[in-house]
């Protein structure tokens, strides 16, 4: 899905490149958003009970970060690397299968 950033990319950040060296307009030419694990600051996480899941896929479509994935049996799973704990999936789940649990650090 994503390729490794070349050495040059780590040089930008290590050497703190300036305006004449950085790519135009803040573009990062090595990654898509898939490479940015943005779920690490959430206060809540969606914990899905697969036994209760009725495969309606409401959570899949409502998740603003596409953090819900459907497994081989069409049961919802949450990708914690992207879940920001907004709770929309839990609110919309008709089977009450998603519990929002506070993250303890």
């Amino acid at each position: 899905m994503t390729k490794e950033a070349p050495d040059e990319f780590s040089r930008w950040t290590k050497e703190k490149w300036g305006s004449s060296q950085l790519p135009m307009g803040g573009t990062v030419p090595y990654h898509t958003a898939y490479a940015y694990k943005t779920g690490d600051w959430s206060a809540f996480k969606a914990i899905i009970d697969k036994e209760k899941c009725i495969s309606c896929m409401n959570c899949y479509y409502y998740c603003p970060d596409s953090a819900i994935i459907m497994d081989d049996n069409l049961k919802a799973e949450c990708d914690m690397a992207f879940c920001k704990g907004c709770g929309i999936c839990s609110k919309h789940c008709p089977a009450d299968a998603i519990e929002m649990r506070r993250v303890t650090r």
Partner: protein, 395 residues
């Protein structure tokens, strides 16, 4: 036929639509608003008739129009849109996104007064207040200039040293709806001037791993913004060169500032857009009375041609700045403050007299402009170096 000059009667809006037709952009996303509507109305005819290859996106607002333009432009498409007044205000947020992400979008603005009170007529405030959005900004005086600047804007915006969006303005109704003589170019001439094949930088493409519009905080934001300033400085020379090339192509002289009878002048009018035509007419009337007066028309507003304006006004005693835009509590009219900054601390420069006039399509007649000229002379005689007045309204 290629190379044969045709003369057609067109309104300002139609002139823009016909010029865009020759450019044949990949995407046009626009929302109707008076007095711009005719531009996209005519253009959607061209799309529907199969005369162009453009994807026309009907959107639900100007905010969406500019957003669609940004998305399309990031894929490497050539993009055009048009708006006015409240529409431009609604686009304002995305104007910064377009320039920040370096999308060479071209935007036609049918300059119109802001609400409230609601008014649909000509006034340039809408475009002038976008001066800090990092867009190249041009003004046109006539349907002909609207036609020319449409084509020119693509050339400037897409230049690899610039890669910034460009907007050009024509005043609502005064230019957009007035039928005028327009000399057209051939499709071949436009294709040679702005070739379809061009350098496209990093573009949004499903097969490539790239991030656009990523979060950039304290440690890199200023560097990215500085790139825009350098691009804007480059736009200055690029615009000059492009205008030179366009002049040779069209046989019509095109310059970032137009000087009219300024060589031996003691006094000068400074204006932009449609007002410049009236200023030149008043110069003719005053010259007939023996007054040594000339006129300066600003076509390029951003990047601001400070040095050119200084050189043009050097040796002039007093400059009358006719500004069809509103600003409140400012040290001067919008264009006046820019000119004052450009001239500050320099020797042999005129006193500057700004006149806020023509708001909401109000006409400042030629005799009224003559009166304003006399006012400027009087201010200058009593040693006032900078004044700003509202003129042409009932007290």
């Amino acid at each position: 036929m290629s190379g044969v000059r045709q003369v057609v009667g067109m309104t300002g809006d139609e002139a823009v639509a016909h010029a865009v037709k020759l450019v044949n952009p990949d995407v046009v996303a626009a929302y109707p608003i008076t007095p711009q509507t005719i531009i996209v109305e005519r253009y959607s005819d061209f799309v529907n008739n199969g005369e162009v290859d453009t994807s026309f996106i009907s959107v639900e607002s100007e905010h969406s129009a500019m957003s669609a333009c940004v998305g399309a432009s990031l894929t490497g498409a050539r993009v055009f849109t048009a708006t006015a007044s409240a529409g431009l205000a609604l686009m304002y947020e995305i104007l910064y996104v377009a320039s920040g992400m370096r999308c060479p979008i071209v935007l036609a603005v049918a300059n119109r007064a802001f609400s409230a009170p609601i008014n649909i007529h000509g006034e340039c405030t809408d475009q002038l207040v976008c001066r800090d959005a990092s867009w190249v900004s041009l003004f046109g005086e006539s349907a002909q200039e609207a036609y020319d600047e449409t084509i020119l804007s693509f050339k400037i915006a897409e230049h690899p040293d610039v890669m910034l969006p460009a907007m050009f303005g024509i005043e609502g109704f005064i230019v957009t709806h007035a039928l005028e003589r327009v000399e057209t170019l051939s499709k071949q001439q436009v294709e040679d001037f702005i070739p379809a094949s061009r350098i496209v930088r990093d573009r949004f493409c499903p097969d490539e791993n790239k991030t656009f519009g990523s979060l950039v905080l304290q440690d890199y934001y200023m560097e990215i913004k500085r790139q825009q300033e350098e691009a804007m400085q480059n736009a200055f020379k690029v615009t000059k060169d492009a205008m030179q090339e366009f002049s040779e192509l069209s046989g019509r002289k095109m310059e970032i500032i137009e000087k009219y009878q300024l060589e031996d002048a003691d006094y000068a009018f400074v204006s932009y857009g449609a007002t410049a035509g009236n200023a030149k007419a008043v110069v003719n009337r005053l010259r007939a009375k023996g007054e040594k007066v000339g006129a300066l028309k600003i076509r390029l507003f951003r990047p601001f041609p400070s040095l050119d304006i200084f050189q043009a006004l050097s040796g002039i005693k007093a400059a009358t700045i006719l500004d069809r835009s509103a600003t409140f509590g400012s040290p001067g009219s919008i264009v006046q403050t820019d000119i004052a900054s450009a001239l500050y601390g320099k020797e042999d420069v005129p006193s500057l007299h700004g006149y806020i006039n023509g708001l909401g399509g109000r006409v400042l007649t030629l005799p009224e402009i003559e009166e304003v000229y006399e006012m400027s002379k009087e201010y200058n005689n009593i040693g006032m170096t900078s004044t700003t007045d509202w003129v042409g309204y009932r007290k």
